[in-house]
Amino acid sequence: MFSRYTSWAIALLTMALGLALPWLKTPLIIGLSYGFAALGVALLIRAGQVSFGHAGFTCVAGYAVVVVGRLWPQADALLLLAVGAVTGLIGGAIVGLFMMRYRGIFFGMLNLALSMVLFAALGKFYNLTGGTDGVRLERPPILGQALERAHYESWLLVISAVAVVMICTLMRRFYASPTGVALSALKTNEVRLEYLGISARSVFYRGYIVSATLCGFSGGMFALIQGLVTPELGYWVRSGEYVFIAVLGGTLHPVGAFMGAMAFEFLKLFAASALTGAWQMVIGTVLLLLIFLAPSGLVAWLLRLDRQFMKRTV
């Protein structure tokens, strides 16, 4: 009941906040962009696997968006977002072929290693990637309209809010689909899953592709709002932040990732002023507290509310 409408609530709230307080627009869009990537990571956590390298997919998608935007300056922002998602999909389909064989520590560290390779390579090939300075993206038109900055950001905010509702609905369906259910069974017991005649690898492969696609979409959002893509977008600290958001929000329901992302963004706004230079320490400490005190994340409270509501109506 409550969890069903939380994505709408988040979308409406961010839009209202962003339009009322223009200085909040950019942090809000960035927060939601974090949410998409964190949802991708959360999907894999449901399968019992943590990836410390999914920022790699957002980074590649970001670069792909910039390349397309440069080759074809009239390309619409919506098209560029699609480019990001498709890049993630292709990346996931290729890398997943290899990753679907690994579980647990190996899975986490191989993703980390791959993203570090990408990070190093992006910094090295200066002529192609602009090195650590990154590459700039000219502001693209939205729905065929060339917009100035304020309007452009408002539109992006609306687009990301709509995307939150759509993606939450789609992901809720995916979680309930045979593949989605098999994915969480992967965590419970892979051997038993195979005894049922389901290929654990193919289930995990599909899950990996979906998660990479979400990260790709998030990479597209980052490129559009920041207008700049640097290798930093694929650094392991970024991947760690996605994992953090996924755990903070909880993985029981897709909207958890966005709750986590919003909490994270406001924590960051606060920490930036109060605790400069100790950002990773803040994340690490909160993560440790979460593991011991609230391992199911923020969304668990929402689901508890749901259950109480159900009991009262029955």
Binding site: G108, L110, V117, V237, A278, G284
Partner: protein, 300 residues
């Protein structure tokens, strides 16, 4: 590439392999007993390096060899035992039974915290204390001038740790207990082994190996933020190539990756950062559990 460059690459490779071996061995040992991959192990390396540099700056100068080496060892031992005790008692023994995803996240959280702690304590500008290297001078190896510290001391340290560990695991009471707990924690406990105590001691020994790697590396490089993360991934590459928990395998893998990295610097300078990872990916494609791993039964 001429003859002297081959020698240079070989020497670089030996140095790298020795350091990698020490750090990776600690990681592997801890995993064997606790069944937890300690992501903060890279930070042990960094903290060991900084601690050794600090102690060296106090005690040693560039003249006395025993004093400067002793300073390094003291720094490593102190830091390793302190970190090991705090982390094992404060965290690791409390997460032995939780969801593996959360275990991995917990040590990752420690890694993030230590990364910032390190910046707060020692700052972000490079730290370099080279007393031990200065004191030992240089050697001429078939026409190539190289520091004696790297040619003699580093391989010697790695080999003696390797022999000492192998011997003590099979010949001492504590070593046999470690082997038993590694094999099967519950059965070992049922036989009367205090698995908790074994865990604490092993964690400290593993941590000291991590800090020792950092301490021995400190006179030859400058310490900057970020070395912990790099070393973590490199030592994981070694452990993954070897198979988790394999001592001799770790030695072979460290030599493979150390040499691979050193030769890449001379042969494929564009790719030197990538070579260790490419080697790891290739090995894992061929043998997903590592080169020397023993097959384990799947528990239903």
């Amino acid at each position: 590439m001429n003859a002297s460059m081959w020698v240079l690459a070989l020497l670089d490779g030996t140095t790298q392999a020795a350091l990698l071996f020490l750090v990776a061995l600690g990681l592997s040992l801890i995993f064997g007993v606790m069944r937890i991959l300690n992501v903060a192990h890279g930070s042990f390396y960094a903290f060991g390096g900084y601690a050794a540099a600090t102690v060296s700056a106090w005690l040693a100068n560039g003249e006395s060899v025993p004093m400067s080496v002793l300073a390094l060892l003291m720094g490593a031992l102190l830091m390793g035992v302190v970190l090991g005790l705090i982390l094992e008692i404060g965290l690791v023994r409390r997460i032995l039974t939780i969801d593996p995803v959360m275990q991995l996240l917990a040590t990752f959280a420690v890694f993030m915290i230590m990364e910032d702690l390190q910046r707060m304590i020692w700052g972000a500008s490079p730290v370099s204390v080279t007393h031990a290297v200065d004191a030992m001078g240089t050697l001429n190896v078939v026409g190539v001038t190289y520091t004696a510290y790297q040619v003699i001391l580093l391989p010697l340290a790695a080999i003696s740790v390797f022999i000492a560990l192998r011997w003590s695991l099979s010949h001492t009471r504590f070593g046999r207990q470690v082997m038993a707990v590694t094999h099967h924690r519950e059965v070992a406990s049922a036989m009367g082994i205090n698995a908790k105590q074994v865990g604490l001691l092993t964690f400290c020994v593993g941590a000291v190996m991590g800090t020792l790697g950092g301490a021995l590396a400190s006179p030859t490089t400058s310490l900057v933020p970020g070395i912990g993360g790099d070393m973590m991934v490199l030592s994981f590459a070694v452990v993954a190539v070897a198979g988790l928990g394999q001592i001799t395998g770790t030695a072979v893998a460290a030599v493979l990756i150390g040499m691979g990295k050193a030769f890449a610097v001379y042969l494929l300078p564009e790719l030197d950062v990538l070579v260790p990872y490419l080697m790891m990916l290739l090995v894992l494609l061929w043998r997903p559990q590592g080169l020397f791993a023993v097959d384990e039964a799947r528990r239903v």
